[in-house]
């Protein structure tokens, strides 16, 4: 599987990720209801909505964990529908999990090295014989992993590399999940509540980090977030979901003041407008 080449001019006009009329229901309950969504290259889009709005399901549909009942999902013009998750990851969509699904008993650096599986190709025969090509690739994997971890400053460097992931603090686990997703060399990063469970200073830091990911890392980012500080701080565009229906889309101010959005959050307008 060849790494997707950054395509020329076409990306300017065509969105990188595109959902068209996507439906998904579980046992009669419609979770995603005729959703259209587009994310352009180098854009940060936030998805907000109350619990049960279908935000995480949206991520699951994009990354192929569930197939949509109908509709089209395209990454860079190519359909993702029906592909298994690992192939979608190779096409360039990587994600983090709301409930943190690190490989806890593996070391920090191994977590990041493991998710480079899709871009590397030495098979078991060469691994058993430990050929020079295999060892070269191993070195490259390690170097790339260190590079991804370096993105987070001192926090995941040095002695931490060889510690098991379970020894990390909560905030660092979130960082490691992002690093792990970055290691699949994605075109679009799907971050599921990256600031959940963080204290204010850590939240601030993650807001900056997401900006840095786009600016320095060149990633396109789709993010689910509850913390409106974060949403305000990072979003180029905000999409609000309720019961699987897109109820608002636009700039943060426009969406946050949208009456339907306010209503969806059960009248707790204070939470939305700070």
């Amino acid at each position: 599987m060849a790494e997707p080449q950054p395509s020329p001019e076409s990306t300017q006009t065509k969105p990188l990720l595109e959902l068209e009329g996507v439906w998904k229901s579980f046992g009669g309950l419609v979770v995603i209801d005729n959703l259209d969504l587009a994310v352009n290259e180098n854009e940060i889009v936030s998805v907000i909505g109350p619990n049960g709005a279908g935000k995480t399901t949206l991520f699951n549909l994009i990354t192929g964990i569930y197939p949509p009942d109908s509709g089209a999902i395209r990454l860079d013009g190519e359909s993702l529908v029906g592909l298994p998750p690992h192939k979608i990851a190779r096409r360039g969509a990587a994600r983090t999990f709301q409930t943190l699904r690190l490989f806890l008993n593996m070391t920090v650096i191994e977590n990041v090295m493991a998710s480079q599986y899709g871009q590397t190709k030495v098979g078991i025969a060469r691994a058993m014989l430990r050929t020079p090509g295999m060892r070269r690739e191993e070195r490259e994997i390690r170097a790339r992993a260190e590079e991804k971890l370096a993105f987070f400053g001192e926090r995941l460097m040095g002695y931490r590399w060889d510690q098991p992931a379970y020894s990390l603090s909560y905030a660092n686990r979130r960082r490691l999940e992002i690093a792990r997703a970055m290691a699949t060399e994605p075109r679009i990063l799907l971050l599921d509540e990256p600031a959940a469970g963080m204290n204010p200073s850590e939240t601030h830091e993650i807001t900056e980090l997401i900006g840095k990911l786009r600016d320095d890392g060149g990633y396109t980012i789709l993010v689910i977030e509850h913390d409106m500080h974060v949403v305000e701080g990072i979003s180029d565009r905000v999409v609000a979901l309720d019961h699987g229906v897109k109820i608002a889309e636009g700039t943060f101010e426009a969406v946050a003041t949208n009456p339907r959005v306010v209503e969806a959050y059960l009248g707790t307008s204070a939470a939305v407008t700070k």
């Binding site: 991520f59 964990i65 409930t99």
Partner: protein
């Protein structure tokens, strides 16, 4: 292969309707024993997510306890008390004894492993199974012990009242002991369903099975609930052991293994964790086995049973009554 198929059709034709009924009867009787054991597997799995490999051996111990009572009262050929009280005492002792054994196993082999990786209690269960089976061999010298149930209550070594026909279908008798086995199995299962769905303990069991941590936070003494589950499961196995002794007439230290495997199969086919599933699938396994022996031949019966089950598991991995779990992400 072609020849085999031909033989099967030939055999079906030669046995006729009478034979078909007989196989049905045998399958149901055997199947209700499998059901009782399978219930234990499924309850324990439901509450602890543990495949209790030792369960088949609890059943074996139950059969030996029943035998012990029978011997203590003078043996089947010369019992010191009447038939009905004797059978009641046999059931009572075997059920109680197996129940205590089950609680003991849980307390000393599985409870220390509550927070260990999932494979640890599995291995401990294998250890318990090894321990029980070989202890039984040590005690019995590896011999089969005869209940002589056929002669129980009979005169001069003739068949006793347990083997009198209750009714006949197309000339095929259904005996007292067969009715007794199926009847008590159904009664026990009904009691179990009542217990699980209607009583406080049942509610606590369901809550613990659903989420042990949350249940304990809600004030449920989960340790006690788990102990009770083991007790009930083992009581059922003990009862099955005595029924087997009365119906088949022998006990054997090795009997727990194969019966356990078949019952385990039934629990899985029924959808592990589902009580109704275990009951239905137990009878189903009994029927498949019975018809496979009758129509295909003894040497193929295990292949037929296990082959059907492999196919079934591949087509419907959650079993008959198991819910398809939606993966939470």
């Amino acid at each position: 292969m072609h020849l085999l198929l031909f033989n099967i059709i030939d055999q079906i034709r030669s046995l006729g309707w009478g034979g078909a009924f007989e196989l049905l009867r045998n399958g149901i009787v055997l199947g209700s024993l499998y059901s009782l054991i399978a219930l234990g597997y499924t309850m324990i799995y439901g509450i602890l997510k543990l495949l209790n490999f030792a369960h088949g051996d609890v059943y074996m111990v139950g059969a030996f306890l029943g035998f012990g009572v029978l011997t203590a009262f003078g043996g089947a050929l010369n019992p010191g008390i009447g038939l009905v009280p004797l059978i009641i005492i046999m059931f009572a002792v075997a059920m109680l004894g197996s129940g205590v054994l089950g609680v003991g196993i849980e307390r000393f082999a599985y409870r220390p492993l509550r927070n260990a990786p999932r494979i640890a209690p599995l291995i401990a269960a294998l250890g318990v199974s090894f321990f029980l089976e070989n202890s039984a061999q040590l005690m019995t010298n590896g011999f089969q012990y005869n209940y002589d149930a056929f002669q129980l209550g009979g005169k001069n070594g003739n068949f006793g009242p347990l083997f009198d026909p209750v009714f006949t279908v197309a000339g095929n008798p259904v005996t007292v002991v067969q009715v007794l086995v199926v009847g008590s199995a159904v009664t026990l299962m009904a009691a179990l369903i009542f217990l699980v769905s209607r009583t406080r303990l049942g509610k606590a069991m369901r809550a613990t099975a659903f989420d042990q941590e949350a249940a304990s936070m809600m004030g449920i003494d989960t340790d006690r609930v788990i102990s009770s589950t083991f007790f009930i499961a083992s009581v059922l196995a003990g009862a099955a052991g005595v029924m087997y002794g009365l119906y088949i007439g022998t006990t054997f230290y090795f009997m727990g293994f194969l019966a356990g495997l078949k019952a385990f199969t039934a629990a899985v086919v029924g959808g592990i964790g589902s009580i109704v599933g275990a009951m239905v699938a137990g009878v189903l396994v009994g029927l498949i086995e019975s018809y496979a022996i009758g129509y295909v031949g003894g040497q193929w019966s295990d292949i037929v049973v296990f082959g059907i089950l492999i196919l079934f598991m591949i087509v419907r991995p959650t079993g008959l009554f198991g819910a398809q779990a939606i993966q939470k992400v």
